[in-house]
């Protein structure tokens, strides 16, 4: 792959990015280990927040939008059988807020068993992932926050706060670490459901770049205009840059323009699957109608990840199997259909990363904006009463991590007997974010941005690194 801009003098940030990370994080990591993990720099220069030897160089965040039920996947609660059809006992605190009155307890409709050498007790919702990789997964069963509706819960998961518009974890990482591959955006949103997630006070160069459909040949692809229409665009961009500097020296648009220029050199190849073997494509489920879309998304994630994109979210948000993962009704059918669409591709991704040695420095995360309640809800406001679905539950839910820096086959945190509230080793969203930043070599207390008269942090004034899950 040619990088057609070698002749141009480097900008200040490029120098910085390249010297700190671009020449390979290995060099930086070496330097760090020699210096005993002391911070390289403490100022607020973008890309300068690497604080210690990173365990993970990149993150792929598989986001199952709508709310995967922890009670039907990885958090087994025998009490649900015993209390089926009954109300929750008084010992379980009633929630501070629900959209509808609580119904009675419903047991999990799935089959549960022990998997792998770790003997993890899990349902058969994700058979391929469980069969082949359960011993690689590191579970947090006690993630919790306070946002009951999808919009604010998703904001909490991605930005740490429910209402205000703040930068996402991906934007913070990009701001803190810079891009590993200067030909590509450092932060990708594959099949996004909230396009143009704003960067809030962070400069927009740290925003995610959306990839609508992960297939070069698909006409709906957002990345259009990738083919250079005339020669010597390097000089053309320099000209534009000199115009931008003319009245109002700012760097933002330059980097957008430069990035665009480099993207057109590298991205088209990455989006073209033709050099992937048929076996690989098949492994990801490409070509099978129910796994095709997500299989493509994850294969694309692997390819971009391999090429050095630091933070990639892959959203699974189809309404083909009910309303996303939001099964207020028909839990079994909806969750089964959704899981069938993602199970094989996720297993393929883990396998592929392992095979390529990428899982050593890539962190894969899988989870939703919240989990679900042990009970059905009395109304959902529109279609009346359901006794075969679950309501939203942000008070204690499960996510798993795999790969770089986390303990394999490990379980952390517990919920109560009904899987409603996190009770032991609780991990709140700031702890979670602090841990992810830590794995990426950043101290969450150092990663600040001065705006509106004060320093802002992803973790606000909270957050403790969950050391127990680190390998």
């Amino acid at each position: 792959m040619s990088i057609p801009h070698q002749s141009r003098p480097l900008t200040r940030r490029e120098m910085l990015t390249r010297s700190a990370l671009g020449l390979g994080s290995i060099a930086a990591a070496d330097l760090l280990s020699q210096s005993g993990g002391k911070a390289l720099s403490a100022d607020m220069t973008p890309g300068s927040f690497l604080n210690h030897v990173p365990r993970a160089k990149r993150i792929i965040y598989i986001f199952l939008e709508g709310g995967l039920s922890q009670l039907d996947s990885y958090d087994h609660k025998p009490a649900l059988e015993k209390y089926a059809g009954k109300s929750l006992p008084d010992s379980i605190r009633p929630p501070e807020f629900t959209f509808a009155p609580q119904g009675t307890v419903i047991p999990s409709p799935f089959d549960w068993k022990h998997w792998g050498n770790s003997g993890t007790f899990a349902s058969d919702l994700f058979p391929e992932v469980n069969e082949r990789f359960i011993d690689d997964l590191c579970f947090i069963h006690s993630l919790n926050h306070k946002s009951n509706d999808h919009v604010t819960a998703k904001r909490v998961l991605h930005t740490g706060v429910p209402i205000e518009i703040r930068p996402t974890l991906g934007s913070w990482l990009l701001y803190g670490l810079g891009s590993e591959n200067e030909n590509l955006p450092g932060y990708l949103d594959i099949t996004p459901t909230d396009p143009n997630r704003p960067t809030a006070f962070l400069p927009s160069e740290f925003g995610g770049t959306a990839v609508d459909r992960p297939d070069k040949k698909n006409p709906n692809l957002i990345w259009e205009n990738l083919e250079a229409q005339f020669g010597d665009q390097e000089r053309h961009i320099d000209f534009i840059q000199s115009l931008n500097d003319h009245y109002h020296p700012v760097e933002k648009e330059i980097s957008r323009m430069e990035l665009a220029f480099r993207m057109q050199a590298e991205a088209p190849d990455l989006m073209d699957f033709s050099n992937e073997s048929t076996a690989t494509q098949k492994m990801y489920g490409i070509g099978d109608s129910h796994t095709d879309e997500f299989g493509r998304a994850l294969l694309l994630a692997r390819r971009f990840s391999e090429a050095g994109v630091r933070y990639i979210t892959v959203n699974h948000a189809t309404t083909r199997y009910g309303n996303l993962w939001d099964q207020h009704s028909e839990l079994e059918k909806g969750h089964r259909g959704n899981a069938n669409a993602v199970d094989k591709p996720i297993a393929a991704l883990l396998h592929d990363l392992k095979l390529r040695g990428l899982l050593d420095d890539t962190l894969v995360i899988c989870g939703s904006e919240f989990g679900r309640t042990p009970t059905f809800e009395f109304f959902d406001g529109i279609t009346g009463r359901h006794q075969n679905g679950r309501d939203h539950n942000p008070h204690g839910f499960t996510v798993w991590l795999a790969g770089a820096g986390v303990k394999p086959g490990f379980h952390f945190g517990e919920t109560d007997d009904f899987g409603y509230y996190a009770t032991k080793d609780k991990v709140d969203i700031h702890d979670f974010h602090a841990t992810l930043l830590h794995l990426m070599g950043v101290d969450h207390e150092d990663l600040t941005y001065f705006h509106g008269g004060r320093d802002f942090r992803l973790t606000d004034v909270f957050g403790n690194v969950v050391k127990e899950i680190l390998s």
């Binding site: 053309h236 009245y247 993207m263 529109i382």
Partner: protein, 830 residues
């Protein structure tokens, strides 16, 4: 880290307010104290002005305002801000030369009275009103976009500086007011209520009706009050003082308002949206009376033919036994698109249209031997239908069922015989097809006959079935035929005399207004026993000392509009003043222009907001009055560069220590390219807008069919790329984010290159010397004179093109122009 810890307390507090859980008691306390629900502070101190509020706050923070912007920056800023177009070279140079002290005030007045002002500021309102070009087409009624007349109304309202209270009243209840002018403003304005997005997933008409009401309530409460009442459909609002009861009091108002002509599960195709003709009452009466006359004649003709039918039992049919092959019921098709089967009394099921797009039905006829055949179709149609007949993919007849039978009941069916065609042995396909928006006739039966019968193509009777009235027309002779022909001629004459008028969406009061009960949890079918009387929300009842009783025979929309614009309503004027500020400065005094509730942002300058709101009310709700106050302020005229870059604070300009620089909306970016090649002739100030001269502008381009050859699709794709949201939902903030996709677009998309090419041609034709060419380019594209450094940059790039890259002069200038288009000084308001 110290600044962080100082903020711990404050932010912990903010977080707990923002969390979803807090008790009702604390909510009520919050409502009582919440700033936007308080009485408007209308007390005046003589020296109050926008600048005094802004400067006081800056001083408090130890900041200074920026220098005054230079004149070139000012004219470009105010031109783009007020009319969405950069100044022309002539305007720029005239302003730079004008040293008189009133040069700037004169400029303000010229632009405020420009007919292009409404095109810019009307678009701002159209975002709030969720208008999107080309979404409200009603197929079969008309091919035009029925919301266009509303768009033009909004543009006109802004140009006329229509008082905002009147603007609200017209949009909510214009149909209940007398018509006051030739533009039918009152009839068009309520389109505001009728252009909501399609509810294409709803198949339950009862729920659909409530969904429409919900969409109307949500849109208007957000537009005028910056609060979304829609939450209260299912439960009392979680944060703001909006009980479910208030919601259903308003819902009753809109349940008593009609925007559809009927409710149907086929809502998707748009037909049920009610339409009206824009004509005077006299004109409509006249048209109605002609239509009544036609109806009478049709009845008469039917009567004559019915009488004839009953008196002519012995007439022999034109065809006896036709040697039928393969008789087929119409609904036994092999394939179809957008058709459906409906029962017709007397004949069983018949096939008809959904009138969506192209419609067709295909039949498979296996025959034992190859040979010549004809098709017989039994059909009925109210109007001539252009049905194409295809045999095995080849078009045989373009208008096979052209003869209308004037009705669709069982008495109107008739047989048609086609021209002969060849069938091969085995399977053959016959397809009947009509183009989009054309009527599809009602089909009953089809059959294939052998050409050996010797039938000429045409309409026929069939001996074995009872004859219909429609068929009688072919049998009637003598006196009956003469009578029928007289009637037919008369009908044709009357139809020719009918005038046609522009069509718009119609909003009307239902004949019997009704109240709605609270729907428990928003459930369509579960209601409380008692109806909630129609009425206005009760949340500011302590401030508004007036009763708004809804008359029994009216929906109550007039009362709602009057309540909204009551001078004591604490929200409407504040919300509008804040929007105007937001549109001038790119950010509101209240950042959340669509949320003044508990969860919204607090105003940065509460006293200034109240000052502006009070000015608005006291000056007859004149928006242009507010423009003058703002545009003539020092705050507006300051530079976008901060006084000293070492001065910390207010980087984003929230405190107005400098003019907040921002990217322009896509319309202004597109129009700026367009106008660089002279495509938007400037219309004189104080004249009425001539839209025929403006149709190339972004505001009209998607519906005016005026995009440059082959670029319609590119323009459609450009709009969302630069923050335009075509979803048809209300937009309160345009997305101004800048992305690599935009940069790729500037680099490689053919649309900006097209304008760059045209501009290069113009420059080369009009100016012979390099200096003149650079002046032309920079003044036209960047709206300012070229300084020496700029000259050097451009000359170097042109030279690089012609010498290093061996480009033609035109291409070198075109790339240079493209470079200027792609630059920030072009797409940003400085």
């Amino acid at each position: 880290m110290t600044s962080l810890s100082q903020n711990i307390f404050l932010r912990t507090l903010a977080l707990s307010c923002a969390g979803l859980a807090f008790s009702v008691q604390s909510a009520e306390d919050q409502w009582e104290k919440h700033w936007s629900f308080q009485k408007l502070n209308r007390e005046r101190i003589a020296e109050q002005s926008i600048d005094s509020y802004i400067h006081t706050k800056l001083r408090d923070k130890g900041l200074e305002p920026a220098e005054k912007a230079d004149k070139a920056t000012l004219i470009r800023r105010i031109s783009l801000d007020l009319i969405g177009l950069p100044p022309t070279r002539r305007e720029l140079n005239a302003f730079l030369k004008d040293d008189s002290p009133d040069a700037y005030p004169k400029l303000v007045e010229r632009l405020l009275s420009s007919p292009h002002y409404g095109e810019r500021w009307g678009r701002h309102w159209l975002d709030i009103a969720r208008y999107v070009q080309g979404t409200i087409k009603v197929p079969g009624v008309d091919k035009i976009d029925l919301a266009e007349s509303y768009r033009d109304y909004v543009v006109r309202a802004f140009n006329e500086d229509k008082p905002f209270d009147r603007f609200v009243l017209e949009q909510l209840a214009g149909d209940l007011l007398p018509v006051s002018g030739g533009n039918f403003d009152e009839k068009v304005a309520p389109t505001f209520l009728a252009i909501g997005p399609w509810f294409d997933e709803c198949t339950d008409p009862n729920k659909l009706r409530l969904d429409i009401i919900d969409e109307q309530i949500s849109t208007l409460t957000k537009a005028f009050l910056a609060m979304d009442f829609a939450c209260a459909r299912c439960h009392d609002h979680k944060f703001d003082p909006i009980p479910t009861r208030d919601y259903y009091a308003m819902a009753g108002i809109f349940r008593s308002t009609e925007i559809t002509s009927k409710f149907s599960e086929f809502w998707r195709d748009g037909r049920p949206r009610a339409v009206q003709e824009l004509a005077t009452a006299d004109e409509i009466d006249k048209k109605d009376s002609i239509n009544r006359e036609i109806d009478t004649l049709l009845d008469k003709r039917f009567q004559i033919l019915s009488d004839f039918k009953s008196s002519s039992k012995n007439i022999t049919a034109k065809i006896t036994s036709p040697g039928i092959a393969s008789p087929r019921e119409a609904e036994d098709f092999d394939g179809q698109k957008d058709l459906k089967s409906i029962p017709v009394e007397g004949i069983g099921n018949a096939l008809t249209t959904r009138r969506a797009l192209d419609q067709w039905v295909r039949y498979r006829f296996p025959v034992d031997k190859a040979g010549s055949y004809q098709l017989m179709v039994r059909y009925a149609s109210k109007e001539p239908a252009s049905v194409k007949l295809e045999i095995n993919g080849e078009t045989l007849e373009k208008r096979i069922l052209e003869v209308p039978t004037f009705g669709e009941s069982s008495e109107h069916f008739i047989w048609r015989v086609s021209e002969p065609f060849e069938f091969k042995k085995g399977s053959n396909h016959i397809r009947l097809k009509v183009d989009r928006h054309e009527p599809f006739p009602l089909l009953d039966k089809l059959q294939i006959i052998d050409t050996g019968l010797g039938l000429e193509p045409g309409n026929y009777l069939y001996a074995d079935s009872p004859r219909t009235v429609a068929e009688m027309q072919f049998l009637a002779g003598g006196k009956t035929e003469e009578e029928v022909n007289v009637i037919n001629r008369k009908i044709a004459e009357l139809k020719a005399s009918l005038s046609t008028y522009p069509v718009a969406l119609a909003v009307t009061d239902q004949k019997q207004p009704m109240n709605l009960p609270v729907h428990v949890g928003g459930n369509t079918y579960q209601t409380k026993d008692e109806d909630v009387p129609r009425g206005v929300p009760g949340f500011a009842v302590n401030l508004i000392d007036e009763e708004f009783e809804v008359p029994a025979e009216e929906s109550g929309r007039i009362e709602l509009a009057k309540w909204l614009t009551h001078p004591a309503n604490p929200l409407t004027a504040r919300v509008l003043a804040n929007r105007i500020w937001h549109w001038h400065f790119g950010q509101g005094l209240v950042r959340t222009t669509d949320d003044f509730g508990i969860q919204g942002a607090d105003p940065t300058h509460p006293e200034l907001l109240d000052f502006l709101a009070a000015e608005l009310i006291e000056n007859g709700w004149s928006i242009k009055h507010l423009h003058r106050l703002i545009l003539l302020s020092e705050t507006y005229q300051q530079s976008s560069t901060r006084k000293s870059t070492t001065q910390a604070g207010d980087e984003d300009g929230a405190l107005l220590s400098h003019f907040p620089r921002r990217r322009l909306e896509v319309e202004a970016i597109y129009d700026s390219m367009l106008t660089s090649i002279g495509k938007v002739p400037r219309q004189a100030s104080s004249q009425e807008l001539d839209t025929s001269k403006s149709k190339d502008r972004a505001l009209y381009i998607l519906t005016s069919s005026r995009s440059p050859m082959g670029f319609g699709l590119e323009i459609r794709k450009m709009f969302p790329l630069f923050g335009f949201d075509p979803s048809g939902r209300p937009i309160h903030h345009r997305d101004r984010s800048s992305t690599p996709n935009q940069a790729l677009w500037w680099l490689n998309n053919p649309l900006p290159k097209y304008y760059a090419d045209k501009l290069a041609e113009k420059i080369l034709a009009d100016e012979k010397e390099i200096d003149g060419r650079i002046d032309y380019l920079v003044e036209t594209v960047l709206g300012r004179p070229a300084d020496e450094a700029m000259r050097a940059k451009i000359a170097a790039y042109v030279k690089h093109g012609t010498s290093s890259q061996k480009l033609s002069e035109k291409e070198a200038w075109s790339r240079t122009a493209l470079g200027l288009f792609s630059s920030e000084p072009f797409s940003h308001l400085e």
